[in-house]
């Protein structure tokens, strides 16, 4: 039987943590179970709320609809119906983007999930022109080592007949031929 500990995934320093190796009264054969895939799944009936519903309906028309904080004037996207800064209800809908600036990014080498692009790819935060906060997405049409903070980008949408009320309308973002935005100007939006 396989009383040999399985060290193929991680190794703990001796004495820090051990598992007992039990005696076994039956023959377990040459191929004992060492690991299992155990899916944990939760199914929700998700409703995004009124403000985000307005945003998602805008996406179906390839438009970014944020909402403005009445106190600070900042435009939040996706809107949640209240300003996260003042707590006040947002009262004005504002179209932002679609051009945007990368405020932060990450080169992903280990993808997971059914929709992950081939690795390595770049996930990034995209600050649409006129918005105070960034949208999450992935970069395309550029080598991963040429992405930089301040890079100007635009969304690449799915075909018109594929548009739904979903962020998946954006296939990815790609660079546009505009000068980078200095990082100084992105302060407060990172």
């Amino acid at each position: 039987m396989s009383s040999e500990p399985d060290r193929s995934i991680s190794t703990m320093p001796d004495g820090l943590w051990t598992q007992p190796t039990p005696s076994v009264p039956v023959d377990l054969g040459d191929d004992p179970v060492r690991r299992q895939v155990v899916p944990a799944s939760m199914r929700y009936d998700y409703t995004p709320g009124l403000a985000t519903t307005r945003f998602l309906r805008g996406l179906a028309e390839k438009r970014f609809l944020g909402e403005r904080c009445p106190q600070t004037g900042d435009v939040y996207i996706p809107p949640r119906g209240v300003s996260p800064v003042s707590g006040l209800r947002t009262t004005e809908q504002v179209e932002v983007g679609p051009k945007a600036t990368i405020t932060s990014f990450c080169v992903v080498h280990i993808g997971f999930g059914v929709n992950a692009p081939p690795t390595p790819f770049v996930s990034a935060l995209f600050l649409p022109d006129g918005a105070a906060v960034s949208l999450y997405g992935t970069m395309g049409e550029v080598p991963h080592d040429q992405v930089r903070i301040g890079m100007r980008v635009e969304p690449v949408w799915v075909d018109d007949d594929q548009l739904t009320t979903s962020m998946e309308n954006i296939r990815y973002w790609r660079p546009i031929d505009e000068p980078d935005v200095p990082a100084e100007q992105l302060k407060g939006h990172m």
Partner: protein, 166 residues
């Protein structure tokens, strides 16, 4: 929608209005955990693959099934796996009428705590029974093994009522 909800002005006739039909969509959050079993649980599920059930002897001599790595009372490591029976006794149960996705039996069934013969603790599993009137605490049950065991708790397809009384 609530009649008193006044959304923001929809500038320029933005289509963002339409508050009347709030969006709604199915959302699945799923993690495909890849877990290491360790020597105790690994032995347990490997034995299930061979249609054998193992428990483990606790410090006070009781047999815990399914087996655990550490003593439930003292936390001391446990070392002696023992074979228990594929028959047992229902110690508690409830009837499941509404079947949800992923449940091991796709018809109304009992979820029961079952103390296998040779064990001193009970394990949670499904009892496939014609109806709640057929199930009772103290009823005798027997493992129905999966046709194609894989080395998982689901190698016990379910329990079925074991004909006669104990």
């Amino acid at each position: 929608m609530a009649a008193d909800d006044d959304g923001p002005d929809t500038a320029g006739g933005a289509s963002g209005g339409g508050d009347g039909d709030l969006l709604r969509a199915p959302l699945v959050i799923e993690y495909p955990f890849n877990r290491t079993t360790g020597p105790v649980v690994g032995a347990f599920v490997t034995a299930l693959r061979n249609r054998t059930v193992l428990g483990i002897r606790a410090a006070d001599g009781r047999v815990v099934c399914p087996p655990v790595e550490y003593d439930p009372q003292t936390g001391a490591p446990l070392h002696e796996l023992v074979e228990v029976s594929d028959t047992g006794t229902i110690t508690s149960w409830s009837w499941v009428d509404r079947i949800r996705e992923g449940q091991p039996v796709q018809s109304p069934h009992a979820l029961a705590l079952i103390r296998l013969d040779g064990a001193d603790t009970a394990m949670l599993h499904v009892v496939d029974a014609p109806g709640p009137e057929a199930v009772s605490t103290g009823a005798r049950v027997r493992i129905r093994w999966a046709d194609e065991p894989t080395g998982a708790i689901t190698d016990i397809a379910c329990f079925e009522l074991d004909g006669g009384a104990s």
